[in-house]
Amino acid sequence: MTNDEQIPLTPTQKAWRRLAKNKAAMTALILLKLITLFCLLGPFLSPWEYDAVDFEHFASPPDWQSKHYFGTDDNGRDLYVRTLYGGRISLMVGLLATSVSFIIGILYGAISGYIGGKTDMLMMRFVDVLYALPFMFFVILLTVYFGRSIWLIFIAIGAVEWLTMARIVRGQTLSLKQRAFVEAAKVCGASTSRIITRHIIPNTLGPVIVYATLTVPQVILFESFLSFLGLGVQEPMTSWGVLINEGAKQMESAYWMMLFPAVLLAITLFCLNFLGDGLRDALDPKDR
């Protein structure tokens, strides 16, 4: 505490301090790091390759003797390694695609809402158009003309996920820009870009961070739908969404196929949730 008085802290540092005090958020952060590490290093603990077929064990339950810790899938491939490889993809897709849609959504929504009038009208009608366009054809065309690549997944997901984010930010902005502090900043001669980045956006972050944490699961599961259309990850690579989707079909007869990826996904999502809430509290400008 005494430190605080001596050296003035930047807002980011302050936010970090506040976050560090939030037990739930810190636990979540540590768990997330552990899961990421597990996905990166875990495969080294198994003798199996993610694409190797074990002709002795087709669809067999978890078994330590054969070193199939999570069992095998219908093709006799080790699910422990596949789950961790899938986790790499899902975590990357989930976090990156969400961050992209987060940034685009915030900027777009804040600009549209703050400038208002005709600009707002045009920008929001553009959002309406994107909402209504047939997403599946967009994906199909992407694969046909550009082949398959992990970057296309981000483009495809990014193209839809930022829309609601933008509308939320715009809604908040419409309300915020009439507030006294924005008026005050204007009177003081702050530029539009400064008002948007320094006054509007920080004040919209609360609901937006929370919505972003809600976007992550959507994105992760969405990726499995892309695989269905032929854009997602290509076999023999996999992802949590794909594994859960396949496992769900036989959960009564082969529980292990869904259980492990589903549990890992659920833990990840819970952690993100608490981390998101912690971040929201830490960044709330009104608490400063």
Binding site: D74, N75, G76, I140, G230, Q234, E235, E246
Partner: protein, 532 residues
């Protein structure tokens, strides 16, 4: 505000009718039918869900028994000329449409003319091309639609003239493309002639209700000539796209019969629903087609054989597909009328010998560990295709060291790649329309365009198939076709994987169900116990 919402909910709830089933003396059969029927129009449909319903609604000159064999339908008797190109059918005098009017020869003439008429744009018109002038009419070369070789001699006598002898004509006539139509109802109904209250049918049932994506209900046609023997009064068909969901509805008793079972659950089904599980051979072949237009498979029989022989088909069917499929070493499935299915020369070898041979061929073709084969296997999105493709690549890698990559495409993109021949290896399947080997062998003739997936051309093969087409003696014809299949297999034009089977769950309340190679199970031949 809240009041409005409340009333809205209230309105919705009371608006839906009660779930309680009123028990009457009526026997209702609940059939899962796979997909929603695309149409009931006999000439526009092309799928199995539609054919199943149409079989209950209509009756052709000949029809199928519970075992899928051909029996007299709307026609009582028939004769053919010496050379096999002239057929005469005597219709039943008792035959009636569901509006009570008699089924006459003209109803068949009308239906068959409509079937080949280019303005109908029937996808399946080609199946009728053995009939005189049918091909020219549907191509638009012959504008005289009445010149079709189908004539009504009197109300109850129908004459059919053919282009060339067609030993499988009766099989064709049991197909929905050759059912009769009630001229008045079709013409008056316009685009809506297939709707309830408009559709007039001559089979055991008539259409009572059709709610797209929900259910389609048939009720007994009291005018049907065999009505006295029809035990089930109502048949309700449900679209069941999700096999797991259909299985659950079967387990709750909401469905009496399912169209299929989820392949990943077959092991569980065999354990828990053994007495309901019906698993039997089907006339279809699952295979990998090779692109013979470009390297590496062009003019490279050794490489083609190496890939084919490296596959352990028993592991594939026992461990991966698990549906009792029959490992295929030939193209035409067994069970075809009068036809003796052929196998590739290596079929007699053991798995070890095949593998040794595969390795030899692989080296002969110029590939080795240092210089492995690198190609792509294309398959369309489907759980089963994916599993098979993964297993195949694993086997090729294990036995030969070949690097086969997987390429998955969405259904229509896949079809497009196939017809453009943008593939090296492609998963394919073929299911016979009628019980005749020519239906399979015609696919590899060089004059069928993109229907021949591998673009294979062999004059010997073409010649044998043309000869078979003109041959009226069934045994000789079969011999010619068997020779053709031998050529096909010796040339390793395709990599056969397995012959399909059908899988149904059938409730123990249902009597009269008989597994058959055509997978035909008309509702009129089934019975249902109502007592528990």
């Amino acid at each position: 505000m809240f009041k409005t919402i409340f009333f809205f909910i209230f309105f919705i709830v009371i608006n839906t009718y009660s779930y309680a089933v009123i028990t009457t003396g009526i026997t209702t059969l609940h059939r899962g039918n796979g997909a929603e029927p695309e149409t009931l129009d006999l000439h526009k449909s092309s799928g199995i869900p539609e054919a199943t319903i149409q079989r209950d609604l209509f009756e052709g000159l000949v029809t199928e028994s519970a075992t899928g064999e051909l029996i007299a339908g709307a026609a009582k008797t028939w004769q053919q000329s010496e050379d096999g190109t002239q057929w005469t059918f005597q219709l039943r005098k008792m035959g009636k449409w569901s509006d009570g009017s008699p089924v006459v020869a003209d109803d068949f003439v009308y239906a068959l003319q409509r079937a080949v008429n280019p303005t109908t744009a029937s996808e399946y018109a080609f199946i009728l091309w053995p009939i005189k002038n049918a091909k020219a009419i549907s191509n638009g070369e012959n504008k005289e639609i009445t010149s079709l070789g189908v004539k009504a001699i009197d109300d109850f006598t129908l004459a059919i003239t053919l282009e060339h002898p067609t030993p499988f004509l009766l099989g064709l006539l049991a197909h929905h493309m050759a059912y009769p139509l009630h001229r008045k109802s079709v013409e008056q109904g316009g685009k809506k002639w297939t709707r309830p209250n408009k559709l007039v049918s001559n089979g055991a049932y008539q259409l009572a209700e059709w709610i797209p994506q929900s259910q389609l209900k048939l009720i007994k046609n009291k005018y049907y000539h065999g009505a006295a023997n029809v035990s089930i009064d109502e048949v309700v068909y449900y679209p069941t796209e999700d096999q797991s969901a259909a299985m659950k509805r079967f387990r709750t008793g909401e469905l009496d019969i399912t169209e299929d079972v989820p392949s990943s659950q077959i092991a569980w089904i065999k354990k828990n629903l053994a007495k309901n599980f019906h698993n039997s051979p089907y006339i279809g072949t699952y295979y990998i087609a090779l692109n013979l237009q470009k390297p590496p498979f062009k003019d490279n029989i050794a490489l083609r054989k190496a890939l084919s022989l490296a596959i352990n088909r028993h592991i594939l069917t026992d461990k991966i597909t698990k549906g009792g499929e029959i490992p295929a070493m030939g193209w035409v499935p067994t069970g075809m009328n009068q036809y003796q299915s052929q196998s590739m020369p290596e079929a007699k070898l053991t798995q070890q010998e095949r593998i040794a041979l595969a390795k030899k061929y692989y080296q002969q073709a110029g590939y080795s560990k240092q210089k492995p084969l690198e190609v792509e296997l294309l398959y369309n999105t489907s759980e089963n295709h994916k599993k098979v493709a993964i297993a195949l690549t694993a086997m090729w890698k294990q036995v030969l060291g070949a690097k086969v990559k997987l390429r998955n495409e969405e259904w229509k993109v896949y079809l497009n790649s196939r017809s453009q021949r943008q593939f090296e290896l492609i998963r394919s399947g073929w299911i016979g329309d009628f019980n005749d080997a020519s239906n399979f062998l015609d696919l590899f003739r060089s004059d069928v365009g993109t229907m021949n997936p591998s673009a294979w051309k062999n004059t010997n093969y073409d010649h044998l198939m043309q000869q078979a087409e003109k041959e009226s003696d069934a045994t000789k014809r079969a011999k010619l076709m068997q020779k053709a299949e031998q050529i096909l297999l010796e040339d390793a034009v395709l990599i056969p994987i397995y012959h399909y089977t059908t899988q149904h769950l059938v409730s123990e309340k249902i009597m009269g169900w008989q597994d058959n190679v055509m997978d035909i199970h008309p509702s009129r031949l089934l019975k249902k116990h109502t007592k528990k």
